[in-house]
Amino acid sequence: MFERIKHMLIKEFLQTFRDPNMKRLLIVAPVLQILIFSYAMASDVDHIAMAVYDLDQTPKSRALISDFVSSGYFFTTGFLTDETQVKETLDTDEVQMILQINHGFEATLESGKTAPIQVLLDGTDSNTATIVLAYAARIVQNFGTAQVATQTAKNGRILAGQGFVQT
């Protein structure tokens, strides 16, 4: 029985590899597919295009922006100068997020009140948006904690959750 299967196998291989089209299809295609699709499907979100709309233009607002950039997740594509650009930028798919710091940010922060920060997200890809939102929230929170720490110069940081991914 094995003898017959062996001959059958030889015939099948000969038949398959006689056709040069088939040979190409069978060898080149899987290699290319593995290379391209595995990189395409990698789901890490770590170069998020961000536009900055800084109406405050103070050392504190710049410090916050540089916290975003130095986190390694965000890069700035440009600085917006007026309101109409905000909609335009999100419409054209250029950025994933706009960081808007309103006028009076530093003053509010120093007076001890809560200083608001606006984050505008492109939600078309809901997954990416969820992840970006979590990154931004963490950066803003760390920034706030650091501000309190310098102001009270006392308690320092209090608690941070830590995550491990086990594969």
Binding site: A40, S43, G123, N127, G163
Partner: protein, 369 residues
């Protein structure tokens, strides 16, 4: 020629089923199954601390709709077993000195384990866990600030997030329209190569050629019936998206149908070109699966965002029409933008279609000569 093609399709109930049935099944399966929303991640908890502080942290997890507590344990072995048997996808360990550290105002740590075998789900679940941890630590800082009396109990900075185009961050709002790009490609990639290659294999192509019909006419005649089937599928997809999945279409329906028609023609031309080059049903359908269907799925920005791909891959995505069509679908369905923002994509689709059609006709004439 067109009449002959329609008769062919009508005579073969299987290919008719393939033409209309397959897209419907795909739409329903993907629409329901490919939900990328992550909710109710099963979570297992090992609370070593057993203090009011640790209870509060845990209650934040169990109270959120993103996690469901499936049990408590006492030991790494049990956590390993639960993660391996897929009973739980995540594990939270609160160490024994948690409350003491919190009371001292030191950095207290909680360990969070995740099953990373599905990287996508894991990243999102990790994001939720981090959000919960930072909410907890924010409430602690707030209490500490109040106690210190320095800032009247105000948070220093507050982030106000607004999500545009998809307020509830629902993935179906994009998955359902995105499937149209895949369905049309299946239409084009599977049906037309089979039909053209069958003519070569059965030898009827020679008969067709001996009639007075010319090369371009023959290509167009082959194309048209499948174009009609594809357009019917476009309409059905729009209708199902609207009335079954309740996905809003913010942009213009007319523009959507027009661009879908161009994209469909691009796909059909690619299918014809491949079947002329390979001349066999098997090779043609394989090649078009690789060159049209899979890129429509993975390199179009449909499943994974193009902006997060490494640059060589990002460059490759420009070679496939699906990329442009998916951008159009996103823009029309979710952003509600018009042709003024989409002219680049439309232009590229037109160029693509014309080039492929010209190549198909040219190759066809060469094959006969």
């Amino acid at each position: 020629m067109i009449r002959k093609e329609f008769q062919h399709i009508g005579r073969d109930p299987r290919s008719l089923g393939l033409a209309f049935g397959l897209p419907m099944i795909l739409l329903l399966i993907f629409g329901y199954a490919l939900s990328l929303d992550v909710e109710q991640v099963p979570l297992i908890i090992w609370d070593q601390s057993r203090t009011p502080e640790s209870m509060r942290l845990i209650s934040l997890f169990s109270g959120s709709r993103y996690f469901t507590v499936v049990g408590g344990t006492a030991g790494y072995k049990e956590i390993d077993r639960a993660l391996e048997s897929r009973e739980a996808m995540a594990a939270l360990i609160v160490p024994i000195d948690f409350a003491a550290k919190v009371a001292l105002g030191k950095e207290a740590e909680a360990q969070f384990f995740l099953d990373g075998s599905d990287a996508n789900t894991a990243t999102i679940a990790l994001g939720y866990a981090e959000a919960i941890a930072s909410a907890y630590s924010q409430s602690l800082s707030l209490a500490a600030i109040k106690k210190a009396g320095h800032r009247k109990g105000n948070l220093p900075v507050e982030m106000r997030a607004r999500v545009w185009f998809n307020d509830d961050l629902e993935s179906k709002n994009f998955i359902v329209p995105g499937i149209m790009a895949v369905i049309l490609m299946i239409n084009a990639a599977l049906l037309i190569p089979l039909s053209v290659a069958r003519e070569w294999e059965t030898g009827t192509m020679e008969q067709l050629v001996s009639t007075p019909i010319k090369g371009p006419e023959l290509v167009l005649g082959k194309l048209f019936p499948y174009f009609c089937i594809g357009m019917v599928n476009v309409l059905i997809t729009i209708a199902i998206g609207r009335y079954v999945f309740l996905v809003p279409l913010k942009g213009s329906v007319v523009l959507l149908i027009a661009i879908a028609a161009i994209y469909l023609t691009a796909g059909l031309s690619l299918g014809i070109l491949l079947s002329i080059v390979t001349k066999s049903q098997l090779a043609a359908s394989q090649a078009s699966l690789i060159l049209s269907f899979l890129p429509a799925f993975m390199l179009s920005g449909f499943i994974s965002p193009i902006s997060q791909m490494p640059w060589p891959i990002r460059t490759i995505t420009y070679l496939f029409p699906a990329r442009y069509f998916v951008t159009v679908l996103k823009g029309l369905y979710m952003k509600g933008i018009g042709i003024s923002h989409l002219y680049f994509e439309c232009g590229m689709l037109c160029v693509y279609t014309l080039c492929l059609l010209a190549l198909a006709v040219k190759n066809f004439q060469k094959k006969l000569a």
